[in-house]
Amino acid sequence: MTLPPDPRTHLASGTTRAVLRIQHRILDTVRAHLTGLGFTELLPPIIGPVTDPGARGAKQVDVDYYGHRYKLMTSAILYKQAALFAFDKIFFIAPNIRLEPLETARTGRHLAEFHQIDVEVAGASRSDILELLESLISRVIEQTLHAEAAALGELGRDTAALGKALLSPFGRRTHGEAVDRLRQRGHDQSSDAEIDWQGEVLLAAEAEQPFLITDYPKGSRGFYDRESEQLPGFLRNFDLIAPEGYGELCSGSERENDYRKIVTRIRETGENPAKYEWYLKAAREGIPASAGFGIGLERLTRYIAGLDSVWQASAYPKVPGVPSP
């Protein structure tokens, strides 16, 4: 696994320029597509008393905020829900900081600093939000193939393979089915946990099109993913997996908005609910039901541009554990 060179070498390289042009096109398309559907873009917060606890194994960054322990956002999920007090359909292009476990430096898919296309829709169900996700990803691929053919060519991207994403609706399988498939292939995947990084790569390498994994077990995600009433112990959530071995691009869910359930679920994640004071106050007074997702921008760029490593999709890459400018 290569590591980023110095900033001048990285930024001046033709490869980086092609990648960043593609990334710009992705952002441009996302904004146009969502705006066209009536979404409002908000600027996300950077610090707060709490952030998303659902980032597996990663450490949050503490900030001394006038003597209070604040956090840099690992994701703005809680603020996305709060944003629905203002608008029914919102999105952020949000910076996130996660001090990922050191082993992730070798996955090619993790950055300590990255950006997320964060979308939330009041009153939406999982099928509503999946429809939106699929239309958004398809639109982005279509536009990039059309408008960035030169950059994709410069990078040697197999555009025929990328184009297959547009041929039919994204496939779906449940977490349980994904676990079974991995075990068939001799991969020791826990049925209680998220699909591990190696498992995601194995499943992604078998696929020609992006596909969805749904119904993750409770205990593998943050407290804000709603538990299924029909299938207790399983969540109304999903991941989008990119084909050709690229792996996870996006996580999302219907959100829990029942105050009692939120408090109980916070305890199930081992945390002190007192930390979430502002959020719980809002939830007690009534937070809109919603569904949403967050797409890793650099991961999406990596997939579309066909890059070996996700750091190539960042102008200022921070590989976990590696001191970088």
Binding site: A193, G270, G321
Partner: protein
């Protein structure tokens, strides 16, 4: 630097003697040899308060099929030196069925004694638990807060001495520690990478403690320190206006069956390369809680009996609250699951009795810290060597040569419901043989 710690209600003098003399302290004084007569003494227990564990006796049989097995294996008569004490504990390999326990949220474990314990535990390759609110109280030690009390310093001291393939560190996290994200911090830190990569890092979910089941950690703080942590802990001026000292209480955390189950699943999901340990207080539903922990995939469950703890607990709790360790062990049925028993452990007999009641290993808390306080270089090593010497003597007397072979048939004084039965509940071949010896 030494001799400052005290432990009322604990056989401090005997522990300190062991820290000085090692295995020799397990025998009568050398100068009495050939002069004094012995028999029926209560030397070991007279400094200790009697509890249910103390009233049990280890009862060697006369007829010993297991000894015959060992004789055949060795081709000669076995001796106590042939007893193997190594065992698997919560995913780690330990040369002894012993674990160094965390020492509550007082300041006792901070600083040089904590590091002396870590160094010596590491040298012997015995697993060590670190808790004590080290991170919230003393920092982690990565950015400028690197002092001798930090968690990182303790882990480094342990690892610097650790032989290959042995031992491991279990880092505890209570509800308050969760605010400091202790586990996430440790999991992503370069210092702990060698432990993680060799499978020798565990995270211990703490549900409570023996000294005060149902309550969270308690410590005494000066008013300014108390004010600094007021958002995180409850600070109560119970000592009156004549002092700046105040009682600081942590929350015990709320658990239900579902919450416990899910927290363990979440730990496994978030820290797939770490072992998962769970520490339980001596509650009346301990069998249910332990069963949930094992079923959810915990590698070890530590049972902290009511006799455990640093002693910093309300007096009423120390005398009247929580199940005694022996009762806890009788209520649960670890089977092949790993159970670590703690509660006033300091010598071999209590340890072997706990093993006979189903524990895989026992935790040394106060004893380890007193020993390191007595001699920061060798005190704990001597104590461990003395414990090992006694356990070898005891196991060989029982006609058993590995720790897994000890069972309830080796105990006398159990209530009828907990006594071994002639038809073994556990169908392990070794237990089947032993059950024939049941008196």
């Amino acid at each position: 630097m030494t001799g400052k710690l005290t432990a009322a209600g604990f056989p401090e003098g005997l522990v300190r003697a062991r820290a000085r003399s090692g295995p020799a302290a397990a025998l009568p004084a050398l100068e009495d040899y050939a002069l004094a007569m012995f028999g029926g003494s209560d030397t070991l227990s007279r400094e200790t308060a009697h509890d249910m564990m103390d009233t049990l006796r280890l009862v060697p049989p006369i007829l010993m099929p297991r000894r015959l097995e060992k004789l055949i294996d060795l081709g000669r008569e076995p001796l106590y030196t042939d007893v193997a004490l190594d065992t698997g504990v919560g995913g780690f390999n330990s040369p002894l069925p012993l674990v160094i326990s965390a020492l509550g949220s007082t300041n006792l474990a901070g600083g040089h004694i904590g590091n002396a314990v870590a160094r010596q535990a590491g040298r012997r390759g015995v697993p060590m638990v670190i808790g004590e609110n080290v991170v919230p109280s003393s920092g982690y030690g990565r950015l400028g807060d690197a002092d001798h009390r930090s968690l990182r310093t303790r882990i480094s001291a342990y690892c610097a001495e650790l032989p290959d393939g042995l031992g491991g560190v279990a880092v505890q996290q209570s509800t308050e520690d969760a605010d400091a994200e202790v586990w996430n911090l440790v999991y992503s830190d370069p210092t702990t990478l060698p432990l993680l990569e060799s499978g020798r890092l565990a995270f211990e979910l703490k549900l409570g403690q023996g000294a005060k089941p149902g309550l969270g950690g308690m410590s005494v703080v000066d008013a300014p320190d108390g004010a600094a942590t007021e958002g995180q802990f409850t600070v109560d001026p119970v000592f009156g206006t004549g002092t700046s000292r105040m009682l600081r209480s942590a929350t015990p955390g709320t658990f239900t069956q579902e919450i416990l189950h899910r927290q363990i699943i979440l730990m496994r999901n978030n820290f797939p390369r770490a072992r998962i340990w769970v520490k339980l207080p001596p509650g009346r539903d301990i069998a249910t809680a332990a069963g949930i922990a094992w079923a959810a995939g915990a590698d070890a469950v530590t049972i902290d009996g009511a006799e455990a703890g640093t002693g910093w607990a309300p007096l009423s709790f120390m005398d009247h609250v929580g199940l005694p360790l022996a009762e806890c062990l009788m209520r649960i049925a670890p089977g092949d699951a790993c159970c670590i028993a703690s509660g006033r452990m300091w010598e071999g007999t209590r340890a072997v009795k706990a093993l006979a009641l189903g524990a895989r290993a026992v935790g040394l808390g106060r004893a380890a810290f007193l020993a390191a306080d007595e001699d920061p270089e060798r005190g704990l090593l001597n104590l461990l060597d003395c414990c090992a010497f006694e356990m070898r003597l005891l196991l060989s007397a029982l006609g058993k040569y590995t720790v897994a072979e000890v069972g309830r048939e080796d105990l006398w004084g159990l209530p009828p419901a907990a006594a071994p039965v002639s038809t073994p509940a556990n169908p392990q071949p070794i237990r089947t043989i032993d059950s024939e010896e049941t008196p």
